[in-house]
């Protein structure tokens, strides 16, 4: 099996690629347009410097050779979503070529403008040019993938990298868009216009299966119907439109000097993959934990902050990965969706590290911190949440529980150890969880 993909990534610049309309914002149709992105006669493009530099950074991160001269071209075809009936893209000399990322060859990376958004409506179509002119980078891989799963893993790594570079605009409806080329036994099939990571994998899985049974005798272009979960044959265009490329005469040549490259290289932060390696080496984290933490740029930042403030690497990793992420994912949230006070987390972890509170108390405090910030140390003191080492208090609570639960006590006497946990739970409740479970059980056993 051979798979190759072409991914379109929307850049998170403030303005569009060739005009000063807002890149994001109002979704009221045709409210973020101007003469340029509407393709009015007389309008002219002007290249967004930030978009250009972001594209170069991605090319560097993908290991591409950066061309020292690059330019734009007109790609001509007719469609209602194309404001000028040509797209300003790059043809002969793109920003980057011949890279490698996570073991996959990167054929090229180039900049281009997004067409408008089109809605089919009966015998007509409705067009919203808000999206027209949005900056896109197109990344084309070599057909190096051996399975749909490979593609999924690669894309996740790529998304992490794009997030670290802060170039990527992640929206619910249109995150990554891709075309994929896949051949199993026979000829290559191109699946066009797949939206989002999940769909890309679904489409490839489906097509891989389909090609197992139906021998692909000709090259074909297919579409992906995400509702039906199937690829479908797209009517072969009678004659493929010739794009008739010419150099974009309204834009000059762009040189990428050594100085610019150096400056941009310096601006690239430590990327996820490097962090993961470093965590394994320096903090002795296992591969999975290192991956999980470094894959989330916000989590990695929090993690490193806690270590900076004196929390042991292993402890911080355990609590952030197991408990914090656990709580968040229960509510389908990510760290970036909540506003957590880093210092409060440090306070909490310190208390755990110094054995001042039980895990149970810590978990409850963490859950509360996710909802709203508060002074951790103050609350622990106020509500007397510190571990009680005074066994006298614990013993008192145990006696009360034993008194109140004579049936359960009988069961324990008869040998049912599991009920001990039930009793322990009651003691915990009575003592607000500040007793260590093992100590409580020991005392209960003694008393019973």
């Amino acid at each position: 099996m051979k798979i190759g993909i072409e991914v379109h990534v929307q850049l998170n610049t403030k303005s569009k690629l060739f005009c000063s309309c807002s890149n994001l914002g109002s979704d009221e149709p045709n409210s973020r347009t101007c003469a340029t992105c509407l393709g009015h006669p007389g309008s002219k493009p002007a290249l967004n410097k930030e978009a250009f530099e972001k594209a170069i950074k991605v090319a560097i991160a993908l290991g591409c050779k950066i061309n020292n001269k690059t330019f734009f071209s007109r790609k001509s075809y007719f469609y209602p979503d194309l404001a000028k009936n040509f797209q300003i893209s790059q043809y002969e000399i793109p920003v980057g070529l011949d890279g490698k990322f996570e073991g996959i060859g990167i054929r090229r990376l180039h900049l281009e403008e997004d067409p408008a958004a089109l809605i089919h409506k009966g015998n007509t179509c409705l067009i919203d040019y808000n999206r027209s002119g949005t900056p896109l980078i197109e990344i084309v891989t070599e057909p190096d993938f051996k399975s749909p799963n490979d593609v999924r893993l690669f894309l996740r790594k790529m998304i992490t990298m794009l997030t670290y570079l802060d170039v990527y605009y992640r929206k619910e409806e249109s995150t990554l868009k891709a075309d994929a080329n896949i051949s199993v036994h026979g000829e290559r099939v191109e699946i066009k216009n797949i939206n989002g990571l999940k769909e890309i994998e679904r489409a490839l899985e489906y097509e891989a299966k389909r090609q197992e049974t139906e021998l692909q005798e000709q090259q074909e272009t297919r579409g992906w119907d995400s509702e039906k979960g199937k690829t479908y044959s797209m009517r072969v265009k009678e004659s493929e439109d010739d794009y008739g490329y010419i150099f974009e005469p309204d834009l000059p040549l762009f040189e990428i000097s050594k100085e610019l490259l150096e400056k941009l290289k310096k601006e690239i932060p430590e990327l996820g993959a490097d962090k993961s390696k470093r965590y394994r080496k320096d903090y002795k984290l296992d591969e999975q934990t290192a991956e999980v933490i470094s894959n989330d740029i916000n989590l990695a930042e929090l993690y490193e902050y806690t270590i900076e403030k004196g929390i042991k690497a292993e402890l911080a990793a355990k609590w952030l990965r197991r408990d914090l992420l656990g709580f968040l994912s229960y509510d389908d949230k990510e760290l970036k969706d909540v506003s957590l006070n880093q210092d409060s987390i440090v306070d909490l972890l310190k208390l755990i590290q110094e054995n001042k509170i039980t895990d149970e108390v810590a978990r409850k405090l963490l859950l509360d911190l996710i909802k709203e910030d508060f002074d951790v140390k103050k609350r622990v003191k106020k509500e007397k949440l510190e571990i009680i080492f005074d066994e006298g208090i614990l013993e008192k609570a145990c006696r009360e529980v034993i008194k109140e639960n004579s049936d359960a006590v009988e069961k324990v006497k008869k040998g049912d150890e599991k009920v001990l946990n039930f009793l322990m739970g009651h003691v915990m409740k009575k003592t607000k969880g500040v007793g260590r479970p093992d100590v409580i059980i020991r005392i209960l056993k003694r008393l019973i």
């Binding site: 610049t13 403030k14 303005s15 000063s20 309309c21 807002s22 009221e28 149709p29 045709n30 409210s31 973020r32 347009t33 101007c34 003469a35 509407l38 002007a46 290249l47 967004n48 410097k49 930030e50 978009a51 250009f52 330019f71 007719f78 469609y79 209602p80 979503d81 089109l118 809605i119 089919h120 009966g122 015998n123 007509t124 179509c125 409705l126 067009i127 919203d128 040019y129 004659s239 439109d241 010739d242 008739g244 150099f247 005469p249 834009l251 000059p252 040549l253 762009f254 040189e255």
Partner: protein, 95 residues
């Protein structure tokens, strides 16, 4: 240059032009005459190290700062369009 009716029709289709029979009849010899003249370029000696001139003067590295400026209102954007609906431009069937 072999410019025949078939090629002209293919080009016209690419350019979204419907040529009538009389138009094709009229255009064919005219286009042939022009292309014959253009084909003389093949006689020019162009050394391999010559670059294409994107513009006749040298311009390079012209950028725009990434900032947002005032844009058109929805009404202004749609003003020149005959076919519109509910804030959208309306176009012909697109599938």
């Amino acid at each position: 240059m072999r410019l025949d009716k078939e090629l002209v029709l293919r080009i016209a289709k690419n350019a979204r032009l419907n040529l009538t029979e009389p138009e094709i009849k009229e255009f064919l010899p005219e286009l042939k005459e022009v292309l014959d003249k253009f084909s003389e370029l093949s006689k020019a000696d162009i050394p391999s190290n010559v670059n294409a001139s994107f513009q006749p003067i040298e311009v390079k590295n012209i950028f725009r700062e990434d900032k947002i400026e005032k844009c058109l209102t929805q009404e202004e954007a749609l003003k020149n369009a005959k076919h519109k609906n509910d804030g959208y431009f309306k176009g012909p069937r697109a599938i």
